[in-house]
Each structure stands twice: as structure tokens, then as C-alpha cells.
Symmetry: C2
Subunit: 213 residues, 2 copies
DNA sequence: CGGTCCATTGATGTCATTCAAGAAAAGTGG
DNA sequence: CCACTTTTCTTGAATGACATCAATGGACCG
């Protein structure tokens, strides 16, 4: 079963995957493996070929923040300057295109590539702004609802979440207990149906949209 | 009295202001005026010459989100694609450089300019990520403390906040009542001293850092 | 089959919001 | 410059949402 992406950051840049394929190396990471680490030098750029990746950040107070989840064709960590501000880990077995940043640097004279990178960064910024908005204005129920909605491409198929409750909680800025309670609540409303903790399907798409508001 | 910037997004790009000055037009906006509107076409790019600007977003549920505050030399709204996702208003009387986006577009062959724009966007993304982090992990007191800390360049001078309590609240995702209470609390701790609602000075910088966690 | 990890559920507590009122500041017109 | 209005800010008390603490339940894996 494939994983439905929340959004495809670089989906409108048709050549990004092709560019990565031409310039970079495809590497494999087993589930749970670190793709790059927080505070490491950002010499490399990454693009998900298959699988699912999360970026996380450890804070001085011990808290953990999940930056985002990345799926097929998503560039990981456009925000990185000279060092990585997040670490990236494979949620499931992954293939990832890896290319030296210097290759991109050299290609700045190539307008198409510079444009593609700028566009990817701009989209990640938009995504982060929307995330900010969600944490700011939404209740726990609305956050969980819109999170699930992001996976609901069609209402018919069963979908599998590649991440656990702790990742969801750290992404939505909730506790795992609250996430669990909201999942139960949505099931009691007959809006979604879970089979175990990770597999679910949407029963009433319109109602879920309403609750995600 | 000048306004201390929270950060200067483009400060490490020495030529941005010069570029704007060369290519663009300097316009004046009186306090409260709209510089550009939400959902308008983003034909123009803006850079603050003098004054202070806020970006805001009106949500379907009636809530208002303050995206960020911009000061001297800051580019406004790098995230904008073809339409503005936020509106921008002058908090005080402002001069703003305005340049056609197409001028930047034509200049994509110029590596320096493309780089500068990418760098500006990257920095805005970093700032948004930090904002997200602050809203996620921090208590009301910590949020207000770190907000004030962002203005505290030196502990000696009195500083003037260009925005009101509602703007602070919408930026920090709190209510004006909570902001007010936290400001009082910080004063009771002899960490800051307010004179009216907008003028303040830092009494104990180290203590403020600690409270901002 | 037993152990470990992860998810669920319940009881209680805390912090920020909400509602309501009053005080201070800023704008307005004589 | 002063009275008046309007807006913004402050303060208090009660409510509510989510967190925390604690225990149970279930899935996966050797």
C-alpha cells in the first residue's frame, strides 16, 4: 500500500525528480534510519524517491518538534543554509536522491534550476505558514481532523499512516493522549473508521472537512 | 525614537537595499495604510526603507493572524507567488521601496540577484519555523518575554513598540487580556518597566532571557 | 508464550480563555 | 486648552480545554 502525501511540495516542478536523478545518487534508508542530523553541515540536498520521511528538532528544554512529513518527490529541508536546522529520519524504508549542494550552486547560472529551488523553498514556506495557522487557530479536534484529511485522497480506500501517535502529537503540538481521544471522538461521530492505530478510512468526507474547518 | 527590529531578514545581503533603490520606486505610506491586500495579484515586491510594517491574514472563521513584523531593510512577503497570501499595513508612517516582480524575473540570469532572493526567502522560512516553535512549546509568559526580548538591543534606552496589544496577541496567538496580564507579571518581577502601553525598558536582561527560555 | 513497546482510557489539575467591568489613553470639536 | 467621545488597555472571576498522572489494554517480536 502506498502512502498518500499531505502535499507534494515540488509536484508542480516537473523536472525536479529528473534533475535529481541526473545529478544525484539514489540511496536507501531503512525504517528508522537517520538521513541527516540536526546541526550537521548541509553539504547535501535530498529528495524523496519512495517512502516517507519526517524532520525533527530537539529543543534545549527536551521537547521534540516534528517539522514536517515528506513523501514521494518532496525536497527535504530547503530551509537549510550551511547547517541543518532539523534532522531527517526514514519513517519507513525509503529511497532518497542525494545531490551535492555545490552542484546546485554551480547551476545558479542555469535559470531553470535556480527557479526550481526558489519555488521549492517558497512552497515550503507556504506550508510552514499554513502549519503555523493550524496550530494557532485550531482546536485539538480540528487539528487531528485536518491532519487525517490531508491523507484522504479518496474515501473508498483504506489508508495507512506511516507515523505513530507520538509523531502526530509532536507535529500537531498535542499530547499522544489528546490525539488518541480525538481519534476516538471522530470515530464516535462516524466520520472515520480506524482498524488498529495506523490504518483508517474516511466514512464521511464532507463531515471531516467541516470538522477540520 | 527608532524602532528596534526583531530581526533583519536581509541584513546579511548588503546589496538588497541598494538593488531596490536602483530598480524600484520609493513610496510613502501613512500609519494604518494598506501597502498591499490579501488575495491581490503580487505584481510588486516590497522592501521597508523606514518605519514598521505588519502582515496579516483574515481567516474564514473571522480570526486574524499576524504573520510578522517588518522593519528597515526587510523584504516583505517573499512567500508570495502570483497572489499575496497576506495583506501588509503600515504600523507607523513608512517609506517602502517598490519594484516590479518582472524586474526580478528578468534578472534571474543575474546569479547574484537570484541568490539574494533565494536567501531572503530562506531566511523568512527560518523565521517562520522559529515562530512555529515559539507558539508550539512556549507558555504565555515565555512568548511575551521573548517578544519583548526581540526588541531589546540595549538595556539602557527606552524602547517604543510600534504595534498595539491586539497585534501582539494575534502574533503570539494569545488574547489581549493574557498579553496584558503577562506584561504586568514581568513588571511585578522587576524584569521590565513600562511607561504607558507601548514604551518600555529592560531592567534585567539576563532574567528576561531566562523567562523567554 | 512472555516481554516490550505503543495506544487507549479515566481522574484530576493547570493554564489560558471568556465574559464583564472599569481605567487610561487617544482622538475630536468647541 | 478643555470637555467629550471613542478606542485601547487593564483587571477580576468563572469557565473550559488540554495536559498530566496513572493504569489498563493490545499489537508485535523474539
Amino acid at each position: 500500500m502506498g502512502y498518500a502525501a499531505i502535499t507534494h511540495i515540488t509536484s508542480a516542478i516537473p523536472s525536479m525528480a529528473a534533475m535529481m536523478d541526473r545529478m544525484g545518487v539514489k540511496m536507501h534508508f531503512a525504517k528508522g534510519c537517520e538521513i541527516f542530523g540536526q546541526d550537521e553541515d548541509a553539504n547535501l540536498m535530498h529528495c524523496v524517491a519512495t517512502g516517507a520521511v519526517r524532520t525533527t528538532r530537539l529543543l534545549s528544554d527536551g521537547r521534540r518538534q516534528v517539522g514536517d512529513f515528506y513523501f514521494e518527490d518532496d525536497m527535504i529541508g530547503c530551509a537549510n543554509g550551511t547547517i541543518h536546522r532539523f534532522s531527517a529520519e526514514a519513517l519507513v524504508d525509503c529511497s532518497v536522491w542525494v545531490v551535492r549542494r555545490s552542484v546546485f550552486g554551480l547551476a545558479y547560472s542555469d535559470g531553470a534550476l535556480a527557479n526550481a529551488l526558489l519555488e521549492a523553498t517558497r512552497r515550503e514556506l507556504e506550508r510552514t505558514q499554513d502549519h503555523l495557522l493550524a496550530l494557532g487557530g485550531k482546536s485539538a479536534c480540528e487539528r487531528v481532523a485536518s491532519f487525517l484529511l490531508g491523507f484522504a485522497r479518496d474515501d473508498i480506500e483504506w489508508l495507512s499512516l506511516p507515523m505513530g501517535r507520538q509523531d502526530m502529537a509532536d507535529y500537531l503540538d498535542l499530547t499522544i493522549e489528546t490525539v488518541s481521544r480525538m481519534v476516538r471522538h471522530l470515530q464516535d461521530l462516524d466520520v472515520v473508521k480506524f482498524n488498529g492505530a495506523r490504518a483508517f478510512r474516511v466514512l464521511r468526507h464532507d463531515a471531516l472537512c467541516l470538522l477540520a474547518a
